[in-house]
């Protein structure tokens, strides 16, 4: 359904990516790049309305005496 896409990273950028990936403890450059892309796309696109996070927020709010 979603397909796949290849991206080529080379030269200085590749060196930087490798350094960051090593420093942050990722198991591979691929894992690091995918994770960074996930983070950036989540900032741009609407977040999924996770029921878990909504529940968490409501749980916190229910600690207020005004609410049951």
């Amino acid at each position: 359904m979603f397909g796949s896409h290849k991206v080529k990273i080379e030269g200085e950028l590749l060196e930087k990516v490798k350094q960051c990936s090593d420093a942050a403890g990722y198991e591979s450059v691929d894992e690091f790049v995918i994770h960074m892309l996930e983070k950036e796309t989540n900032k741009i696109l609407p977040q999924d309305e996770s029921n878990t996070s909504k529940e968490d927020i409501q749980k916190r709010l229910r600690g207020l005496g005004y609410i049951e």
């Binding site: 994770h35 609407p46 909504k54 709010l61 005496g65 005004y66 609410i67």
Partner: protein, 624 residues
């Protein structure tokens, strides 16, 4: 200048107690100076009211409309005055998630606080636990955050109750958790529940083990928490115990403090543990300016509640603490505030000294039923035993005032004020249920999802209005709400007026009383850049009535009206004209109808500082 900010100090109760000779210092102050009713905020909720006082603006200026706000794009609900978030970036190693950077706490109130302006003008100031100041804004003076400060778990107070009673309702309760334990060979082995461990995938709650050895014969128990061993008798509270939650070995830990109460050793084991408070000696989140002040205060007076609303009303509501035990805990809170007052007040020699007390508000919420025979939760036996409890808190505040007046000189202006008064809360009105039954909300038929989620089954394509928070009425506006259908302009105005009139026409079927006595339109009562950011209308309930418990978070109880049988039996989230606060001073106050928005200009005027152009009011000492 000295200001005592006494949350919820009610003018009618004050008048009564003064007349009965129970508050001689207030009586003296009123006689020698002035006593006025203080117009509260629209709506009369503490975060709104204190924000009015702090900024000199109403909600249109400071952007705080209720305890609860919503994001119109996704209906995410959130606490109005502050946001606490984890780090924006992290990476994973196996099961571990490593944050890159620390989390953040953000102050959401807009506008300049009066003490910021005092700082700019080099006026020394001290501000203790003023609400709606978490995280505390940058300040030159000492400030400590109050209402709005979370516990270590990021909630507004989550207690834990450990019991071996097999009939206990185990799991999450409102404001707490009930944990089933076993007493094996007279020992309980269990865990304290801490903040979510965001170092782990799925962020489960962190835990720290502790053991309780229950004496087989005597009603005592010995508790061992991280090497701290102490004994409690049945009915005894511990002091504050530090606890460290290890989130990631050698790298991440977070410190808090908590108190234990041994409710029962035999025949059932029952142990209450307070919400884990941020440790003032090692704060995990910013709670003071300078950052060292919370620690310095703890060194001077001992550890203290840092949680914004410290009185554990939820534990009383859940029946985990009874009236006596709740009062013990409440008195501890006031005792801490008085120790802080006794430590700080002698140091005051110049500038502004602002000190806040929460006790009258939280105890009026919980104890109103003990002096209100018409309350659905009135209990004659409890009333006979504890009916004087609220009065005792009022008397303690009078004692504090006496300490202030003993030091007052002719150069010092004293104000004693409250953000709102109080009224009985006997009946609930479920606004969202009313909107649904009157065709303003359409709900999907055959919905099988989780109905406890806000507006879980609402068909927004056929919904014109909804309620969120304690007083907020919103239209489902096109281009504002995610699936808005009401056109801005004349259609929205007409719809709002229609709903306004219908709400005002509602009568209690039991006795014909009006349930709602005013509905203020935001466009008419709010001024400032945020006037259109909050509710479209504010529902003002008559005395005795309040928004129901579930409708606040977008749920639909089956009935429009319900009896309020909760011990939380007094409230103020009503028609603002029916719950004014108080303003007393050692000086004559020419203003006959001062308001909260006059206080910031008053403070500035005392120090020869002009109010800002955004401030709506004027000094209460100015002849009008």
């Amino acid at each position: 200048m000295i200001i005592l900010g006494v949350d919820g100090l009610d003018p009618d109760l004050l008048t009564k107690f003064m007349a009965e000779g129970k508050m001689p210092n207030f009586a003296k102050l009123a006689e020698q100076g002035s006593f006025r009713r203080l117009t509260t905020s629209i709506p009369p909720q503490s975060p709104v009211a204190w924000s009015n006082l702090i900024t000199g603006m109403n909600a249109g200026g400071h952007g705080i409309f209720d305890f609860i706000h919503r994001d119109p794009k996704n209906f995410q609900l959130y606490f109005s005055t502050s946001k606490v978030e984890g780090p924006a970036h992290s990476f994973s190693i196996g099961k571990w998630v490593i944050p890159l950077g620390s989390g953040s706490a953000e102050q959401l109130r807009h506008g300049k606080a009066f003490w910021e302006i005092l700082d700019e003008n080099h006026v020394h100031n001290f501000v203790y636990r003023i609400p709606a100041n978490f995280p505390p804004i940058d300040a030159k003076g000492k400030t400590l955050s109050g209402m709005g400060t979370p516990d270590l778990r990021g909630t507004y107070g989550t207690f834990t109750f450990y019991t071996d009673d097999p009939t206990a309702a185990v799991g999450a309760v409102e404001g707490g958790e009930v944990v089933q334990v076993d007493v094996k060979n007279n020992r309980v082995t269990t865990n304290l529940i801490g903040p979510d461990n965001t170092f782990l995938r799925n962020a489960p709650p962190s835990t720290e083990p502790f053991t309780v050895d229950v004496d087989p014969l005597e009603s005592v128990a010995r508790i061992d928490l991280q090497g701290q061993k102490f004994v409690l008798k049945e009915g005894e509270w511990s002091g504050w115990l530090p606890v460290e939650f290890q989130l990631m070995p050698f790298i991440g830990n977070v410190k808090g403090i908590c108190r234990f109460y041994l409710k029962q050793a035999h025949p059932r084991f029952q142990l209450y543990v307070s919400p884990i408070n941020i440790d003032p000696s090692n704060p995990a989140l910013p709670i003071s300016t300078p950052s060292s002040y919370s620690r310095d205060l703890a060194k001077e007076i001992g550890e203290y509640h840092t949680q914004g609303i410290a009185e554990d009303t939820k534990a009383l509501t859940a029946g985990v603490l009874d009236d006596k035990e709740f009062l013990q805990q409440s008195h501890t809170v006031l005792a801490e505030h008085r120790r802080a007052f006794d430590a700080e007040f002698p140091k005051f020699h110049e500038g502004l000294f602002f000190f806040y007390f929460s006790s009258l508000d939280l105890n009026a919420h919980m104890l109103w039923r003990l002096t209100d025979p018409q309350s659905p939760s009135y209990d004659a036996a409890a009333a006979a035993q504890y009916g004087g409890a609220l009065e005792e808190f009022y008397e303690q505040i009078d004692q504090v005032l006496g300490e202030v007046m003993a030091r007052l000189d002719s150069d010092t202006t004293l104000l004693v004020l409250s953000d709102h008064g109080f009224a009985p809360y006997r009946h609930s009105f479920n606004l969202n249920t009313w909107l649904w039954k009157n065709g303003y909300i359409t709900r999907k038929e055959g919905f099988t999802g989780d109905a406890t989620q806000p507006f879980a089954d609402v068909d927004w394509s056929r919904t014109r209005a909804y309620g969120i928070g304690l007083n907020g009425l919103y239209l489902n506006v096109r281009s504002r709400e995610r699936e808005g259908i009401v056109e801005v302009g004349a259609p929205a105005d007409a719809l709002l007026r229609e709903i306004q009139q219908k709400l005002l026409d509602i009568r209690d079927p039991k006795d014909g009383s009006p349930v709602i006595t005013r509905v203020d339109l935001a466009s008419e009562v709010y001024q400032g850049p945020y006037a259109r950011s909050g509710p479209d209308a504010l529902v003002g309930y008559n005395r005795g009535y309040r928004s129901g418990w579930q409708t606040i978070l977008g749920q639909f109880p089956p009935d429009v009206m319900e009896e309020n049988t909760n011990p939380w039996s007094g409230d103020h989230c009503m028609d603002y004209t029916k719950v004014p606060g108080v303003l007393l001073s050692n000086r004559k106050i020419p203003a006959q109808t001062p308001a909260l928005t006059d206080i910031a200009p008053t403070i500035l005027s005392e120090f020869g500082i002009a109010k800002t152009k955004e401030m709506m009011g004027q000094s209460v000492f100015q002849t009008r």
